[in-house]
């Protein structure tokens, strides 16, 4: 009973309190996205604090990906405002967001099939200059190699993405995102299809990145596996905020439990 009210309070608190630009490194206020007549995201507001690992959770079709796409500029939102580092960035195109320091990984991996792992990572390290002598001599490769080693692909530098196992693809996604030198990293479904030890090693990597000062938002359809990782979680359903709080608070929230048809979160 009491947990119920807490959650309700938390939810209403967020809705009532206008989100302001300085509420966090990323602040989203009243985000709404419609496709045709369909409302995918409905008046969603939240903020991400610097150097936290936020879990962004919801059942399939809850609007997680759409929210992400609106934040990173893939879709322009129908209404609402997005602030990043205190500046309004609503509708800014994706590459601009990346340049401002917001990187993301794709759930459906999108590596460049025509080049090696190393060159995939090197691409994200490139400057936006049109005419350049850079790259003629391969000077990015040292840094790119370092990133590859960091994400655990040190021994697969010259393989093509097609040759990588599933976990390797995920690592490549992380490597490509890290190559842009982000301050905020949005990670989409990092643990899908990974084995236990692999989950652990990726978690370690993400924690390490946080310790170095990076902010992370991890998107997943449930919290299993995230509990050890995240500091805080936001749960959405049908495009709007359902609950917000610490992992414990979320797991005990009856509404959340209901949304997951009893115990999906366990």
């Amino acid at each position: 009973m009491s947990a119920d009210t807490t959650a309700e309070e938390a939810a209403t608190a967020t809705v009532d309190d206008e989100i302001s630009p300085d509420d966090g490194i990323l602040a989203v206020d009243g985000l709404r996205k419609e496709f045709g007549g369909l409302v995918a995201v409905d008046d969603l507001s939240f903020a991400v604090q610097e150097q936290e690992i936020l879990g962004f959770i919801g059942p399939n079709g809850a609007g997680k990906s759409t929210t992400f796409n609106c934040v990173t500029g893939t879709y322009p939102p129908t209404a609402g405002t997005v602030w990043y580092k205190g500046e309004e960035v609503t509708g800014t195109p994706p590459h601009e967001m990346v340049k401002r320091g917001m990187a993301r990984t794709f759930q459906s991996f999108a590596p460049l099939e025509d080049r090696s792992v190393l060159k995939n990572v090197a691409l994200s390290m490139m400057n936006d200059n049109l005419v350049t002598m850079d790259g003629l001599l391969g000077e990015f490769h040292e840094e790119a190699r370092a990133i590859c080693e960091r994400v655990g692909l040190g021994d697969r530098l010259h393989q093509t993405p097609a040759e990588l196992p599933h976990a390797g693809m995920l690592r490549l996604e992380l490597g490509r995102a890290l190559g842009t030198d982000p301050d905020l990293l949005l990670v989409d479904e990092p643990f899908a299809g990974l084995s236990g030890p692999e989950v652990e090693s990726v978690s370690d990597l993400l924690l390490e990145l946080r310790d170095e000062g990076m902010t992370l938002v991890v998107v997943d359809h449930n919290m299993r596996g995230l509990l050890q990782l995240i500091d805080r979680a936001i749960v959405i359903n049908f495009g709007s905020l359902l609950a917000e709080g610490s992992p414990d608070e979320i797991t005990n929230n009856p509404e959340v439990q209901e949304a997951y048809l009893g115990g999906g979160l366990e």
């Binding site: 590459h95 990346v98 990187a103 999108a110 460049l112 994200s124 001599l137």
Partner: protein, 399 residues
């Protein structure tokens, strides 16, 4: 800083040392050296006669003219490759740029008395603007629809030329503007060769630099480019502008030589547009080198056929009379055998012969993949790109 740039310079120069180059590049350097020495070679006794034998004409004078014309065509093909071979947006009307460059320069020279050296710049500028005009729609429409826009653009320009034929000379074009370096066989040859080398060097360096890597990434997956913090719009327009400007430059200089004139049939006819694509596809798309070699081949093959004095018995037509027809048939044949480009095939063959695998640690995307890696060469990628587009169009899986 200076130390760093010095060492970079040394590295770069080291790369240019011909002895350290892979075989295919050695062949390229040798070919270039041959082209540079050509006017000298033909004036030597004995050697000269032999060299003239292999030229696409039976006199050294016309031989040099014909090679010069082929060099201009190779520049057209390279400018096509810079945008279509790298970004995967197939242009079916690249003649637009050659024509804008050539006509602008010719009209500035003849109508306004500008020196051809200045008017050429005007041609380049307007061709670059034309590049923007095609590049911006390329952000909205893509795949076959963009090909359509590019196919139609020169036709609209031609209609305009016909409609305002007082100014543009209609289907038959304008008369010859002033020549840059007179009528000389050798001087015009070197003009063409110099420009060819400059264009080649520029495009080669650009495509082997990060820019090239980004352009091929656009061809492969536009989202990945955005995710890397790179503006695909900027690079795509850049590719069109660059290609337009270079095509315009080649077209502009071409009309100021004795081998070219500002006429639709030379600069923007359907046949020119097709020939440019054929040249690059046969040579190997997305390599620049392929377009250069393919361009020379496509431009000179009819010249060679023209030299053959043979009448096909049954139909009673001479080979020289049918040279373009035969060229088209040869092309069709080659396209069916080597869809990935003859150059690529040649490189793969060369590697097998020299026992090297090309080195996955190559410096940059130098287009050295062998055709066996299906799905990773530019042709396959471009196809995939189109296929994706069709799938979307025909209700393939949307998500």
């Amino acid at each position: 800083m200076t130390d760093n740039s010095k060492s970079r310079l040394r590295l770069l120069l080291g790369q240019l040392n011909p002895l350290g180059l892979p075989l295919r590049q050695k062949i390229g350097v040798f070919g270039l050296a041959f082209l540079i020495a050509l006017p000298l070679l033909v004036s030597l006794p004995v050697v000269g006669q032999f060299v003239v034998m292999i030229l696409p004409a039976s006199s050294w004078e016309l031989g040099l003219y014909n090679v010069a014309a082929a060099l201009f065509f190779a520049m057209f093909a390279m400018s096509w490759d810079a945008v279509s071979g790298y970004t995967g947006e197939i242009s079916f009307g690249h003649g637009l740029f050659f024509a804008v460059g050539g006509y602008t320069s010719a009209m500035l020279n003849m109508g306004h008395g500008l020196s051809p050296w200045v008017s050429v710049l005007g041609g380049v500028l307007l061709a670059a603007v034309a590049g923007v005009m095609i590049g911006v729609p390329a952000l909205r429409v893509e795949g076959p629809y963009l090909s359509l826009v590019t196919l139609v653009a020169p036709l609209i320009l031609l209609q305009l030329f016909i409609f305002m034929s007082d100014i543009f000379g209609g289907e038959q074009g304008l008369s010859n503007p002033e020549n840059l370096v007179g009528l000389g066989f050798v001087s015009n040859y070197f003009l063409a060769l110099g420009l060819f080398v400059a264009v080649f060097a520029l495009l080669w360096a650009l495509t082997r630099s990060n820019t090239g890597s980004i352009l091929t990434a656009i061809r492969e997956d536009e989202d990945a480019v955005s995710a890397a913090g790179l503006s695909k719009a900027k690079f795509k327009i850049f590719a069109f502008v660059l290609s337009g400007a270079i095509g315009g430059l080649a077209g502009a200089v071409y009309v100021h030589t004795p081998v070219g004139s500002p006429t639709p049939s030379e600069l923007m006819s359907v046949i020119v547009n097709v020939e440019v694509i054929i040249a690059a596809v046969l040579g190997g798309m997305g390599t620049i080198v392929g377009a250069a070699v393919g361009g020379l081949f496509v431009a000179m093959l009819p010249d060679y056929l023209n030299l053959v004095e043979f009448t096909v018995p049954v139909i009673g037509k001479s080979i020289s009379e049918m040279s373009f027809f035969l060229f088209a048939i040869v092309t069709l044949f080659l396209l069916n055998i080597f869809p990935g480009g003859v150059l690529r095939w040649g490189i793969a063959l060369g590697r097998r012969a020299t026992g090297r695998d090309g080195g996955k640690e190559g410096m940059a995307a130098d287009g050295g993949q062998s055709p066996e890696d299906t799905g990773t060469n530019p042709v396959a990628q471009t196809m995939e790109r189109y296929q994706e587009y069709y799938d979307n169009m025909f209700g393939g899986d949307d998500e």
